[in-house]
C-alpha cells in the first residue's frame, strides 16, 4: 500500500507543470480555487517568480478562459497594490498558466493571527482600499475580497491577489462566485454586481481587522460599508477611505452618530494642546490676580 505521504507526492507529481526551459518550477507556493501557484526560477532574468497553473484543463475551455482573463486584468491594472503579471501561456496538456511577481510575505489572515497592532492593520487596510479603488476606476470589481486574498510583503507593502472571479465591466460569469461571509446579499443571488459588492467585502474585512474591541466609530464605519442594502453602503471606496481619514484626524465620522459627551471628548482630543495651554494661561492669570490682591 502506498502511504498518505506517497499519495500527496503522487498527486503533486501528476500535477507538476512542465514549462519551457525559461522557467524551472522549484516548489509549490499554495493552492487556490482553480489552480496551484508554484515558485519558479526565471533563468532568463535570473529571478524567482510565481506561476499560477490551472489544476485541470476542461473540455469547454472555460477554466482556461477564466485564468487568461485574470492574467489580462492583472496586466491592465498597473498599481503597486496589485501583483504584476509577466507572462502567460498554455501547457502542452492544455492547462493555462501565467507568470507573476513572487510576493515574499504573509497572507493577511496569517498576519492577523500573529497579532499585528490596530494602527498597522488600518494602514494595511488603507493600502487595500487604494488598490481596490484603482481597479474600480478601471471597471473591475474583485468579487472575492477576504484576508486570504491579500498578501503583505516584508516592507508592509500590500497586494490584493486572486482576481480569478473578478467582473470586468459587463464581462462576468453568471454563476455565484465569492466567499460566504464576505459576499453581499446581491452577489449570493448571482446577479450582476457593481463596485458596492466590493465595498461590502471591505466592510467585512475592516470588521475582521478591527476586532470586537475596536472603537465604536470604527465599528460603525465597517457596519456602514457592509450594509445589507447596496444603497445603504458607501457608494465609492473613496467615501469609505474619507470616513476612515476623518476618524484618524479626530473629525466627525459620517457613519457614526455621536453623543454630546463623545463630541466633547473628541473635541478635547483633537485640540488637546491648545486647550491645555489655554487652561494653563487662565490658571496663571488667576494666580497672578490673587497674588496682586494679597
Amino acid at each position: 500500500m502506498i502511504s498518505d505521504r506517497a499519495i500527496e507526492r503522487l498527486r503533486e507529481a501528476a500535477a507538476w507543470p512542465e514549462l519551457d526551459a525559461r522557467y524551472e518550477i522549484t516548489g509549490v507556493a499554495g493552492h487556490g480555487g482553480m489552480g496551484t501557484v508554484y515558485v519558479a526560477r526565471d533563468h532568463v532574468l535570473d529571478r524567482d517568480v510565481a506561476v499560477k497553473v490551472l489544476d485541470v484543463a476542461d473540455q469547454k475551455g472555460s477554466r482556461a478562459a477564466r485564468l487568461q482573463r485574470e492574467a489580462h486584468i492583472l496586466a491592465r491594472l498597473d498599481h503597486p497594490g496589485i501583483v504584476p503579471v509577466h507572462d502567460a501561456g498554455t501547457l502542452e496538456d492544455g492547462r493555462a498558466f501565467y507568470v507573476m511577481k513572487l510576493v515574499q510575505g504573509k497572507r493577511l489572515d496569517e498576519l492577523m493571527r500573529d497579532g499585528a497592532p490596530l494602527p498597522d492593520r488600518l494602514t494595511m487596510f488603507g493600502r487595500i482600499l487604494d488598490a481596490v479603488a484603482f481597479a474600480h476606476a478601471h471597471g473591475v470589481v474583485h468579487r472575492d475580497l477576504k484576508p486570504e486574498n491579500v498578501m503583505v510583503g516584508g516592507f508592509g507593502e500590500v497586494y490584493v491577489m486572486d482576481w480569478g472571479v473578478a467582473q470586468d465591466g459587463a464581462d462576468s460569469e453568471a454563476a455565484v462566485v465569492g466567499t460566504p461571509g464576505f459576499m453581499p446579499p446581491e452577489q449570493e443571488l448571482a446577479r450582476q454586481v457593481d463596485r458596492r459588492a466590493d465595498i461590502y467585502a471591505l466592510g467585512m474585512l475592516l470588521a475582521h481587522l478591527a476586532g470586537p474591541e475596536a472603537p465604536a466609530p470604527l465599528r460603525a464605519i465597517a457596519a456602514k460599508a457592509a450594509h445589507a442594502s447596496a444603497d445603504g453602503r458607501y457608494q465609492q471606496v473613496e467615501d469609505l477611505a474619507a470616513d476612515l481619514a476623518r476618524l484618524r484626524n479626530q473629525d466627525r465620522v459620517e457613519a457614526y452618530r455621536e453623543s454630546a459627551i463623545e463630541r466633547l471628548v473628541r473635541f478635547y482630543r483633537r485640540y488637546e494642546l491648545p486647550i491645555l495651554l489655554l487652561v494653563a494661561y487662565i490658571v496663571m492669570r488667576f494666580v497672578l490676580l490673587m497674588w496682586r490682591g494679597v
Binding site: M1, A14, D55, V56
Partner: protein, 238 residues
C-alpha cells in the same frame, strides 16, 4: 489543446446490452471500489475483518443482481458518493436484519485480497474520528493512484524503458521517513546523466498524469463529474 484520450465511463458501460462489456465494466468498478468499501465498513461501521469482508462481497454481489449501478442518476450525486450511500444503506439493512452474514457465496467477479487490505489497516490505522466521507475518498484516491502506478510501470516495461519508471519510482514514490534523493544521486545509482534523469522524470510525470486522468474518466459518469474529481485530486487540499 491536448486532451486525455477518452475512455468510456464504466458507469455507461454497465448499461451496455452486451453482457461481456457489462461484466467487464462491473469488474472495473469492483476493482476500484472494493478496498475503499472494505476499509469504510471496518472504520465507519466498526465491523470486524470477517464481517467487513463478507459484507463487501455481498454488497458487490447485490450490486450486480439488483442493478445498483444502472439505477445511478448522474444529476443527483457523484458516482463515488452514490456508491458510498448505497454501501451505507446496505450495511444499515444488514445490521437491522441482524442476520448472520453469509460468506461471499462464490459471486466474486475479481479476487478480493482482504488479507492485504486488513494488513494495510493495521499498518496504517485510519483515525476513527476522521471524516468518514474523507476516509472513503482517501481510500478511493489511494486505489486510483496505485492502479495508475501499476499501469505506468507496465507501459514503461512494455516500451523497453524500465529505467524511466525507476527514475519516477525513486523520486516520486518515496515512502514515509525516506528522504527524497537528488537527481544526481539517482543518476549515479542508475548510471544515467542528471539531464537524462530530469527528462525521464518529466516524461513519466506527464504519462502518469494522463493515466490518472484516463482512469478517472472511466470512473466518472460525465464530463462535469470528471472535471470536478480531477480538480479536487490536483487542486486545493481539503
Amino acid at each position: 489543446m491536448s486532451f486525455p484520450a477518452t475512455r468510456l465511463s464504466v458507469v455507461e458501460r454497465t448499461r451496455s446490452g452486451d453482457e461481456e462489456t457489462r461484466r467487464i465494466a462491473l469488474a472495473s468498478i469492483i476493482d476500484a471500489y472494493w478496498k475503499p468499501a472494505y476499509k469504510y465498513l471496518r472504520v465507519k461501521w466498526s465491523l470486524g475483518p470477517d464481517e467487513a469482508a463478507d459484507l463487501t462481497q455481498e454488497f458487490f454481489a447485490a450490486a450486480l443482481e439488483k442493478d445498483v449501478v444502472e439505477k445511478y442518476e448522474p444529476s443527483r450525486a457523484r458516482f463515488r458518493t452514490y456508491l458510498r450511500m448505497c454501501l451505507d444503506g446496505f450495511a444499515s439493512n444488514a445490521r437491522k436484519a441482524e442476520r448472520r452474514l453469509k460468506r461471499g457465496g462464490g459471486v466474486t467477479l475479481v479476487p478480493l485480497d482482504f488479507d492485504t487490505a486488513e494488513g494495510e489497516i493495521r499498518s496504517h490505522e485510519p483515525a476513527v474520528s476522521a471524516d468518514v466521507d474523507e476516509l472513503f475518498y482517501r481510500e478511493w484516491i489511494r486505489a486510483l493512484l496505485e492502479r495508475s502506478v501499476d499501469d505506468l510501470k507496465r507501459d514503461a516495461n512494455a516500451a523497453g524503458r524500465p529505467e524511466m519508471f525507476e527514475v519516477f519510482r525513486r523520486y516520486d514514490l518515496v515512502e514515509d521517513g525516506e528522504p527524497r534523493p537528488t537527481y544526481t544521486a539517482i543518476a549515479a545509482a542508475l548510471n544515467l546523466t542528471s539531464a537524462t534523469v530530469t527528462n525521464h522524470l518529466a516524461a513519466m510525470r506527464k504519462q502518469f498524469r494522463k493515466i490518472v486522468l484516463d482512469r478517472l474518466r472511466e470512473l466518472t459518469s460525465s464530463e462535469a463529474e470528471w472535471e470536478a474529481e480531477a480538480a479536487r485530486l490536483f487542486g486545493k487540499r481539503s
